[in-house]
């Protein structure tokens, strides 16, 4: 569905150098600290920014610029009918109403399902006649996702779709996304979020990006089952086999290590305190932690 090969974009104080692949039927999460390049990656995929190197393939077609590519294989405006997009900080003009959005979507998308969109809006209690700018953050976010889901898109690109929402609104959005994937196994989603719980629940695989580079890629199941934090005394650390340690960090009275082989340490070091790892720990340790000599990553 999406293939980024060594995509490069240079800014004054930031360089994106990103490769990733999203296959049909997969929900892929893009994680990383603020300013790491997540939104830039989305914009590159959507052709909103020009790239200086590498190749971007979306739904089997090349996103410009790709001068050597046959024009029939170029991703064109009409191909965007197959995409559903949301941005945290951008959407339909706040001066429009949902009634206006229906008219606009109907004109842009052949497959726009007006009946379903309207019933979803009513079900989520979105006012049809009020300007979008008067909506709460939660209402705006729901509208963005509903609009992205309204035209039978094959691929969703969702940049922070749950930002600033309470737990109930987030759950409603995640339910909508799960339903979307259940309807057709060939669909795919690329999603970024700062709320790790949402991604752990939703995503099949995760890419972590930092300073414009993809520094980690793993299935979510493997992250949840195999990654852990080891809390060690200095003595325990000295005696530890460090082969499966990814990063380490000195804390007040202990050394905390991130591993991707929880069972190995559970079996061989029964005295060591082991806590399950999650996305937040991963981001924190991969960005702030120290590399381990002879470690796994």
């Amino acid at each position: 569905m999406i293939r980024l090969i060594q995509v490069q974009k240079h800014y004054k104080d930031f360089t994106l150098n990103c490769s990733l692949t999203i296959n049909p039927g997969r929900i892929v999460g893009l994680i990383g600290p603020n300013g790491s390049g997540k939104s830039t990656t989305f914009k590159a995929i959507l052709g909103l920014i020009g790239v200086e190197g590498g190749a971007i393939e979306v739904l089997g077609k090349q996103v410009a610029p790709a001068p050597e590519v046959d024009t029939q294989k170029l991703f064109e405006a009409r191909d965007r009918e197959k995409l559903g997009v949301t941005f945290a900080d951008s959407g339909f003009s706040g001066y429009l109403t949902i009634t206006d959005v229906i008219k606009i979507q109907k004109a842009f998308y052949i497959s726009f399902n007006e009946e379903r969109f309207l019933s979803e809006c009513k079900a989520t209690k979105l006012p049809l006649k009020k300007p979008i700018r008067s909506f709460s953050n939660g209402m705006k976010a729901k509208l963005k996702v509903l609009a992205a889901l309204s035209h039978n898109a094959s691929l969703l690109l969702l940049d922070e779709p749950t930002a600033g929402l309470d737990v109930i609104a987030r759950d409603e959005i995640l339910t909508l996304l799960r339903k979307y994937m259940e309807e057709d196994e060939n669909r795919a989603i690329l999603i970024s979020s700062h709320i790790s719980g949402d991604l752990e629940e939703l995503c099949d695989e995760l890419y972590m990006i930092d300073n414009g580079n993809v520094i980690w890629h793993e299935d979510t199941d493997k992250l949840l089952s195999d990654y852990a934090l080891l809390k060690l005394t200095e003595k325990q650390y000295e005696a530890l086999d460090k082969t499966w340690l990814l990063r380490t960090r000195q804390e007040d009275c202990s050394i905390v290590c991130l591993t991707n082989e929880k069972e190995f340490y559970r079996e061989n070091y029964p005295d060591v305190v082991i806590e399950n790892g999650g996305i937040d720990d991963l981001i924190y340790f991969l960005v702030k932690g120290a590399r381990v000599s002879g470690g796994a990553l």
Partner: protein
């Protein structure tokens, strides 16, 4: 491109009160001024309509909306084309409505071929105004862009109004009847200049839009 027109018409719907006030003002002036020649009504109506059409660009970019807008299924070229067609058609509609209002207000006393020509001339001035404004507004969507385009708008308005006054003086001077006889050529010349400015602006706008990053 149909979707873009519908979006802009929905956005313009929000400004209907502004335009209604403009029309009421035009009628009021037409009634209040003796020997009213209709020029103010036509130009005011046309320029307000053009400004409103240009304002859809600001609505598009409101709250960083440009990034999302460009993920919808239309090309950047379509966007520029739609903006040109919309602004030019709306300025024409504004000029024609202004003309009709002047005629109605004066009880069709001032109906003349000259008024029609003035109407076309005002529309051409608006077209030049659109041609200068659109690439600037597309290039700068910040406060800077609004300032530059407002300044240009004022300059174009003053120039256009002066040009109209000058043309009006020429056409009303009996001594220059030979020139009056050729005023169609004058109009054609202005039309040709407007078309050249418009086409150049369109090309520049396409380039600006294709290079723009969101």
């Amino acid at each position: 491109m149909k979707g873009l027109f519908i979006k802009d018409l929905c956005l313009l719907k929000n400004q209907k009160q502004t335009y209604l006030i403009t029309l009421i003002l035009c009628i009021g002036i037409a009634f209040a001024v003796t020997e009213y020649d209709g020029i103010f009504c036509i130009s005011f109506s046309a320029i307000i309509a053009t400004t409103m059409a240009l304002g859809t660009l600001s609505y598009d970019m409101y709250d960083n909306g440009g990034s999302f807008l460009l993920t919808l299924p239309f090309s950047r070229r379509d966007y520029v084309r739609e903006k040109f067609i919309l602004t030019i058609l709306l300025s024409l509609a504004g000029a024609v409505l202004g003309l009709l209002l002047s005629l109605i207000s004066s009880g069709f006393q001032g109906f003349s071929a000259e008024l029609w020509e003035i109407n076309i001339l005002i529309w051409l001035v608006c077209t030049v105004m659109v041609s200068i404004n659109l690439p600037i507004r597309l290039r700068f969507d910040s406060e800077q862009g609004r300032l530059i385009s407002s300044a240009v708008l004022i300059v174009v308005y003053i120039l256009g109004y002066s040009l109209l006054g000058w043309a009006n003086r020429i056409w009303k001077t009996r001594e220059l009847e030979s020139l009056i006889a050729n005023r169609s050529w004058l109009l054609l010349m202005i039309l040709a200049i407007s078309v050249i400015v418009l086409l150049s602006s369109y090309k520049v706008s396409i380039k600006v839009m294709e290079k723009k990053e969101y």
